[in-house]
Subunit: 395 residues, 2 copies
């Protein structure tokens, strides 16, 4: 069996970065910049302006009482001149009028009878010079993932659109004769398909565009047809059909109609993961058990989608957490235990969020982190800390 690291390395070597597209800033949140380096085509701020509400004056005239000869508001196009012994009322963001070289804030000035008394003030005080934030021609390096602050920077540079990576199209297939759509009635031997909708949600969360190919019965022909139908996508993700049973066809179809790169990894939950390709498109065959499917999605599909967007890693925060009590695991595999982590008295604690079986979904839903416990250990040990991959809010 491959280790997680080796399996993931081999998977990520298959990632091809998606193409580029242009989106308006109003729909750019969460998208990934094609190139994080943006050359500023203008000075920011574009002109010298006041950082405060107050009076624009000449520093050489301070301290003193100066005659008020006008005012300038933010957005003013015509500016009164400040000559010797005069001052101009100014608001935050308004252009510094010609002749002035400093601003005295309202709170430091006293105005009466058309004149203002100001203290000694150094030149440049409360003045934002043109280009003092970003001079024209600067190569601005933004974070690749666009959040509100990066969107604000693009807008401040006058850009109304951003060039971003196209979302990778992820074809999602559930296999299994026993599966039924939620909302319909179960027949004998049937269970509800929870993987299709959960893997689609996880795909969107990771930055991909889910394309549901629906449920596929347990026949070799149906599985092959579904995988070939997914070949127009950037990646195919299946759940089920990758174990050792007679009705597990995903791996066999990859071997016969495409190629199988590897199968089985030393990870708990999720051992029977399969990776290969069909018609040039990478296929990740996730286990069918819902916990295994979502945990292996987190460990493999999420970093794969991010790699296709040009992003490294899984984008999750890690904390060092100490289990409150032992949590048993398979000593032959690296375990990703479903835990709740929280801060308490200066340390981060973890407790099992419930049963750790690979079909026990509720404890995964109640978890906010995966506790990473190495191969070789029989249980998470309360005497030490482990890395926890945080995916939910801390309570």
């Amino acid at each position: 069996m491959l280790t997680l690291e080796e399996a993931r390395r081999r998977l990520l070597a298959r990632a091809r970065v998606t193409g580029e597209e242009e989106v308006s800033l109003s729909s750019a949140s969460g998208r990934v910049l094609a190139d994080p380096r943006i050359v500023a085509s203008l000075d920011v701020p574009p002109f010298a302006n006041s950082a405060m509400d107050g009076y624009a004056v000449r520093a050489a005239d301070t301290p003193g009482t100066l005659r008020i000869v006008g005012e300038v508001a933010a957005g003013s196009a015509s500016l009164p001149e400040v000559s010797g012994g005069t001052a101009v009322r100014i608001t935050t963001g308004a252009p510094l009028p010609p002749g002035a070289d400093t601003v005295v804030p309202l709170e430091q000035a006293g105005e009466s009878d058309g004149a203002v008394t100001v203290p000694l003030t150094a030149p440049g005080t409360y003045v934002r010079m043109a280009g003092s934030d970003t001079p024209a021609g600067t190569e601005v390096c933004l974070p690749r993932v666009l959040g509100p602050p990066a969107i604000a920077v693009l807008a401040s540079l006058g850009l109304a659109r951003a060039r971003v990576r196209s979302r990778p199209r992820i074809a999602i297939v559930s296999t299994g004769d026993e599966l039924m759509d939620p909302g319909l009635s179960l027949g004998p031997g049937q269970i509800y398909d929870s993987n299709a909708v959960a893997l689609a949600a996880a795909t969107s969360e990771a930055g991909g565009e889910p394309q549901s190919l629906g449920r596929v019965p347990d026949t070799r022909e149906a599985v092959e047809e579904a995988l070939r139908a997914g070949a127009g996508s950037d990646l195919i993700v299946t759940s089920g059909g990758v174990s050792v049973g007679q009705h597990d066809y995903v791996r066999g179809v990859l071997e016969d109609a495409g190629s199988l790169d590897f199968w089985r990894i030393a990870v708990q939950p999720g051992k029977p993961l399969a990776v290969g390709e069909i018609a040039g498109v990478t296929v990740i065959g996730l286990p069918g058990n819902p916990v295994s499917a979502l945990v292996t999605f987190e460990l493999f599909v999420r970093p794969m989608i991010r790699a296709m967007l040009g992003l490294a890693g899984d984008g999750r925060l890690r904390v060092q957490a100490r289990p409150q009590e032992p949590i048993g695991k398979d000593p032959q595999r690296q375990a990703f235990l479903r835990v709740s982590v929280w801060h308490e008295a200066g340390e981060t604690l973890a407790r099992s969020s419930g049963g750790q079986g690979s079909a026990q979904l509720r404890p995964l839903a109640e978890a906010n982190a995966l506790l990473v416990v190495p191969e070789g250990e029989e249980a998470a040990d309360p005497a030490r800390t482990y890395e926890a991959i945080v995916f939910g809010e801390l309570s």
Copy 2:
């Protein structure tokens, strides 16, 4: 000036939880459950089934060599009976056939000539009993914010739709004669409006539905008209117009046409925050400087939107981070410094991501956290740790 805590307490006291609506599971990701308690209307799993690919047998017949009398696959409706001395091939998830009480995995069994040799096996081994995950009638308590695992739980319970809180409608108004839309040409004294698009993105990220009311010139009439136009929303968020200048009308309009609850807070950046209401709708007047606007959004509007969704806090992860070198601040205010935090050699370090001026957007875009430094301190002190509010990925 109010402290952050007092100001936020007064703001959040105004929050009214939004109504409910039903959405399909495929569009439920990130939405907030109206009621996190869901009563299971069926057993999960709905029937006893095999946890492994292998053989269904009677424990009393083990160890021994048993005649194979049939097979049962996942989704099978008709089941062969397991009587004394017999076994049935079974796949993971397939219903346990009548008579059988245990499963021997393929790896532990040897099949030849229509018979299988199995080791001593206790009753119930590798059998998932009906309702063993969730018995019908159980009150399942899910996290309020729906992620992939909670969506999977809902699907496994047969639910195709979820009742969620309506997204609060947040009217967004930028004030200022100097503002111009990105993508157009700047006139004299103009700058690009970065707040409108950034506050809309931050609103979506927090779970609200942004409704842009556009830009408003600096006249009392225009500001009042815009605030009244926002009265059909659940909350009005303005930027600019809340300082002490002659052209700052938001606060005045609140005082005259509605009511002003408080103005000015002891927070850096963001002192001139105003909160009040007009026509029964709460108005949060954010400062116009883009860094102040986004930081006060984080501190006030984000928790307000979450409170309207029935969620506590800001949903951000906190870490304790130590600044690598002093970062200066205003000793009279609690500061939220823009920093990059990262893990190194067992501790979490922070460094200023650039200038800390309230108009310096780039350092905010390059930050992944706000370092919280108390009132009274003149700088963040490298000899101790501070709480950091993490809003971006750690590199």
